[in-house]
């Protein structure tokens, strides 16, 4: 008797993306990357791999893409840094792992999984999380790896908008990052 169908879903964030905001080429690029993540994750399932492996595989592809606010292409903090968070959970065991505020781990989802599987804890943060990543042999990168020009411009625009607002001259025309409000 057949079991439930092999299935994978992905998302790349929610926000104020209205129709017309993206060119047809940009829409195609987003959809192509989502499809790549779906196909890669599904291939893991088809080979008999675990749901955990499928989730990690799909998310790594999205983290490595500059299109999304995760990994490369992450938005900037007010201090001009990229700080990354991630978590993963295994429905079979209720084991879970999470990391917060890392700046040098190329794929935070892999670190979250390492926390789940190779520590007695659920969440590591900041320097401690990065030390654990080092100990686990995960790939570390320069913080500059995560920067993209589009995100940097959005950050600079937001700073400028804030500065003008403080001077009592709110700049209504300043470009705001579409992800300003969203995770």
């Amino acid at each position: 008797m057949a079991g439930p169908p092999l299935t994978i879903l992905v998302h790349g964030g929610a926000g104020a993306m209205e129709k017309g905001r993206y060119t047809p080429e940009e829409e195609a690029a987003y959809k192509a990357k989502l499809t790549e993540a779906l196909e890669a994750g599904y291939a893991v399932l088809e080979r008999g791999g675990s749901a955990l492996d499928a989730v990690e595989t799909a998310i790594v592809i999205l983290e490595d893409s500059p299109l999304f606010n995760a990994g490369k292409g992450a938005v900037f903090t007010r201090d001009g840094r990229n700080e990354l968070d991630a978590s993963i959970m295994d429905g079979a065991t209720l084991n879970a792992g999470a990391v917060a505020g890392v700046t040098r781990v190329r794929n935070p989802i892999r670190l979250a999984r390492a926390v789940m599987e190779k520590s007695a804890h659920v969440m590591f943060a900041r320097e401690g999380a990065e030390k654990f990543a080092e100990e686990q042999g995960l790939e570390l990168v320069s913080p500059a790896y995560f920067r993209t020009e589009a995100r940097w411009k959005a950050y600079r625009d937001a700073l400028e908008k804030e500065k003008k607002g403080k001077e009592g001259k709110p700049d209504k025309g300043a470009a705001a990052d579409a992800d300003y409000k969203y995770g």
């Binding site: 079991g3 439930p4 169908p5 092999l6 299935t7 994978i8 879903l9 992905v10 998302h11 790349g12 964030g13 929610a14 926000g15 104020a16 993306m17 209205e18 129709k19 987003y30 959809k31 989502l34 993540a37 779906l38 599904y42 399932l45 749901a51 955990l52 989730v55 799909a58 998310i59 999205l62 983290e63 999304f68 606010n69 995760a70 292409g73 938005v75 903090t77 007010r78 201090d79 700080e83 990354l84 991630a86 978590s87 959970m89 295994d90 429905g91 079979a92 999470a98 990391v99 917060a100 505020g101 935070p108 989802i109 979250a112 969440m123 700073l159 804030e162 300003y180 969203y182 995770g183």
Partner: protein
């Protein structure tokens, strides 16, 4: 933010979420993505959830856990539970965002109350499908 949920041949569910967080966030701000039960949750008895949105609201409402609890305790479908949580509880508090949810039987939903959500699904026997807008 990006995320994924999956159901394998053994009937096991998993969920994951990864993010750069909120743009212009202040020192030490942590959103819902690394908070188990807020941004991410998976339980073979109910469903797997990955979230995206205004994290502070997802933390206060334990969004991901709430969806699975409604499925487990109240016997709702994943679509019913996600609709209640996103369009009822989250919207009622003034928050916005969305979830992807996958049930233990393969039922799934992608629910959001923002203007769009980058999303996609591939299920046995069907092609990969993606969408951006409502």
């Amino acid at each position: 933010t990006v995320g994924a949920v999956a159901l394998d041949a053994e009937g096991n569910l998993a969920a994951g979420t990864s993010t750069g967080g909120m743009s212009m966030k202040r020192y030490g701000r942590v959103g819902d993505s690394p908070i188990i039960g807020a941004g991410t949750f998976a339980d073979n008895r109910s469903c797997a959830v990955s979230s995206t949105g205004h994290g502070e609201y997802f933390i206060r409402l334990a969004i991901a856990r709430d969806v699975c609890a409604q499925v487990e305790y109240a016997g709702k479908s994943v679509a019913e539970a996600a609709r209640d949580v996103i369009h009822g509880r989250l919207q009622g508090l003034g928050g916005d965002g969305g979830v992807i949810v996958l049930g233990k039987d393969g039922g799934y939903t992608m629910e959001f109350n923002s203007k769009g959500m980058f999303r996609g699904v591939k299920q046995a026997g069907g092609p990969a499908q993606t969408a951006i807008y409502d």
